[in-house]
Symmetry: C2
Subunit: 478 residues, 2 copies
């Protein structure tokens, strides 16, 4: 294993953590940091460092890292910039392997800050310490429970996030958590005075916990290395990249934000495509495609079979697919014949399949489309997990009957789920579900999500997911 | 007032309603319909019609409409298609003014259905009855409380929705309700054998309850009339249109769904633009722009001032604005000087304004941008309504302190709100807010929504809203 990768193990899974700048004062950043770190105290030792306090959150506080008796693998620094050279030297003398610098006020603020940054990082280099930041928001590892950033709501999963913006990184984690997906590791990379986005991707490519890598990037310090890494990595796990600074004005804003040089967007775009990187422009797209890559098969082509509870959704979905270059092929005769036996005679007799407000055979219809040899991916809209609402104020008997009816329907759907998942896997075709009337009672959608099959809010979002999957498939099979 | 418009008053605000096909059986559509209609029983009389039942939901059931003693303004028909000619004749003899036909199995199913449709509608014409549908999902009026469709969650407001798809109409109402916006009237227009999208728009243009018209359209029966109407209407209230069938395959699906001819998309697009119709491709865009038009001023141009809690959001927002043709102008010297006095020295010193994680002067910064003469609209990202989470398990005293701190912050924001709204109105510049860390405790965002200022989920969504507003402004001032 390479040296960098080993040092990053200390960053993500240390045996002991010093919090330099831990505080009892809620208005200080160091208050939040120690609070976040303490959540993992069963997995590692924690040492608060504060020159004034005797005790922090019930733990003995140390004046400096060198006063600690036991070895310290990792330190997080959340102190004013002028105190960081001394703190870094202490870390070096103590034998700290890795430091994360939340502290800001360096290169991003101008010449003086840049000089201070150089000073701190020459000390770090001298002692062989690998450093995250400065001017970063923190990181987490859901396995080791080390957390320097917050985002308490994040659950364990297989998606890793690296972000050159702390606030946008939080946005990604927040949106992903809302969708129900789990995360392996997160790191806000800040000014990247030492460790860069390339280092993190190299590490995550080898990380068993991580199946999918998401990155928010303003600029690449070593574009050639990035593209070389990406080319190898995307063959084994997908990289989803939001590379901003596409516009000249955006590039300027990136320069002022993290001193990043955005580079020529057209050049980047072509290179990213060649490396199989999935480039997105919106956080929703990032989360949607990440969630689909967690469990769905990669389709073998771009031909979509659509099945809907009503015609309007079919029209919207067809338009959305065509806009994104996906095909809506005709159904084979065998499929039409099978659907004739499953649906009322008024069904659309074509692709999109309009079930005309009758959903009792939805699973069989979806199964039939998965089997159709002209279809590479199936989109289902409004035909799974629909539970009619039971309004208040009904006669007691009726309310009982309606609830029993809903329960029976859900149990029926749940009993069909195993067979459906088997077909998805056997045919190697994704099933992308739009849940237009999602309710808490739609147990089948919850169960699907438990198994890694997430649902999408609109037919347009579902089409976008299939388009990304189809494009990634073209790269993998080229 | 035109005749059509008068007849539509009977449709939306009748004094009495017959439900032809009302049922006690939850598996029948007529069960849901009578249940929905009964919610408004304090505002109009309700007569269930069913040939077999004596009583429905405690009300006397009639065998046919002509058995009712009192006058009947409006009837909803939810019976098998073969019984509709007789029922329509009964309505004619009884003097019913308007009928809504949920019943399906007409032109959308082929030649036989088309013949039956012709038969029913020649009876309706003979008696001068104006008819919604057939093959529609129902309608509602939040003022009269008449509801034949469900969507119980919809609240009263100023947005009207007309939809050629029942299921997509429900999707629009659902997404809108989730955003917190209220609706005036809704109608699912079905096959449009009599009343068409043009009739509804003509009616809604004159409707005092309605400030904004949203329409989902698969095909226009009388495109010339539509464009003439739109040209006049958009001068007094915006029309937001989702016209599908853009792709050939989508157009075919529309034909099979509601027998609509989509027409040439390029021709439609140009004509819609000329008429000031706001054309959208996604339901999210429809809801986002509708919500902005409820209360925000229309900007005078397309120059956007951006203020963010952190740099990453600024870069993303700048890229998104540029992609949509919006300008990110430099700040005036006066603005820079003012911001120097409000922000730490490390602020970005340009547009986008990066407050660098310091939000205490956010309202003053936003106010400063609203005042800048080079700026037509302000986008604020993550700098309003932010409430840090108070994690469980803190020492009691600290928890108390943190909560007090949050409360104080929110009260501070609430006290500034009036002044901010005044500036928005005075400068006639919209303030489009991205709330990236929305929590239940963010009272200021709730209060803004109460006053008609909604928030958007991502910088990209906010940019899209401003782009639509700027385009509409160009039309209005041309």
């Amino acid at each position: 294993m390479k040296k960098t990768i080993q040092k990053l193990d200390y960053l993500f899974s240390p045996r002991s953590v010093a919090v330099i700048g831990a505080s009892n004062n809620p208005s200080k950043w160091g208050f939040g940091t120690i609070r976040n770190v303490l959540k993992g105290i069963n997995n590692f030792r924690v040492y608060p460092i504060n020159k004034k306090e005797k005790e922090i959150f019930g733990l003995k506080a140390y004046g400096k890292v060198t006063e600690i008796q036991e070895p310290v693998d990792f330190a997080v620094m959340v102190i004013p910039p002028q105190f960081t050279p001394e703190a870094m030297r202490d870390c070096g003398e103590k034998g700290v392997k890795s430091v994360l610098m939340i502290s800001a006020g360096f290169k991003e603020t101008g010449r003086e800050g840049a000089e201070l940054q150089d000073e701190v990082f020459s000390i770090a280099r001298q002692f062989g310490i690998r450093v995250v930041g400065p001017n970063c928001d923190g990181h987490f590892n859901t396995e080791s429970k080390l957390n320097t950033v917050g985002f308490d709501q994040a659950i364990t999963g297989s998606v890793a996030v690296v972000s050159q913006s702390g606030n946008f990184g939080g946005h990604i984690i927040g949106e992903g958590t809302e969708k129900g997906i789990g995360f392996s590791k997160y790191v806000s990379s800040g000014n990247e005075a030492d460790l860069t986005i390339e280092d993190y991707i190299e590490y995550l490519a080898e990380d068993d916990q991580t199946k999918i890598i998401c990155a928010y990037v303003e600029g690449l310090k070593d574009a050639r290395r990035f593209f070389e890494l990406a080319k190898i990595t995307t063959r084994k796990k997908p990289i989803i990249l939001m590379k901003v600074g596409r516009s000249e004005e955006g590039a300027q804003a990136a320069m002022s934000h993290t001193a990043s040089l955005s580079g020529s967007d057209a050049v980047h775009d072509a290179a990213l495509q060649q490396c199989g990187v999935i480039r997105v422009d919106k956080v929703e797209h990032m989360i949607d495609i990440a969630s689909a890559l967690i469990r769905q098969p990669i389709p073998h082509g771009n031909r979509v079979g659509i099945v809907t509870i009503g015609g309007g959704f079919g029209v919207v979905a067809t338009d959305a697919c065509r806009r994104l270059g996906l095909e809506i092929p005709p159904l084979t005769d065998a499929t039409v014949e099978k659907l004739n036996s499953l649906l009322p005679s008024r069904w659309s007799h074509g692709n999109p399949v309009d079930m005309t407000a009758v959903s009792y055979n939805a699973y069989a219809c979806i199964g039939t489309l998965l089997k159709d040899e002209n279809i590479d991916a199936v989109m289902a809209i409004g035909c799974m997990g629909y539970v009619p609402s039971v309004p208040p104020g009904l006669p007691e008997k009726l309310e009982r009957e309606l609830k029993a009816y809903n329960k029976e329907m859900m149990e029926g759907e749940l009993s069909l789920l195993g067979g459906l998942v088997e077909r998805i896997d056997k045919r190697e075709k994704p099933l992308i579900i739009t849940a237009v009337s999602k309710t808490d009672d739609a147990l089948v959608l919850k169960e699907l999500a438990n198994q890694g099959f997430y649902t999408y809010k609109t037919p347009e979002a579902a089409a976008q997911v299939i388009a990304y999957l189809a494009k990634y498939s073209r790269f993998l099979s080229a």
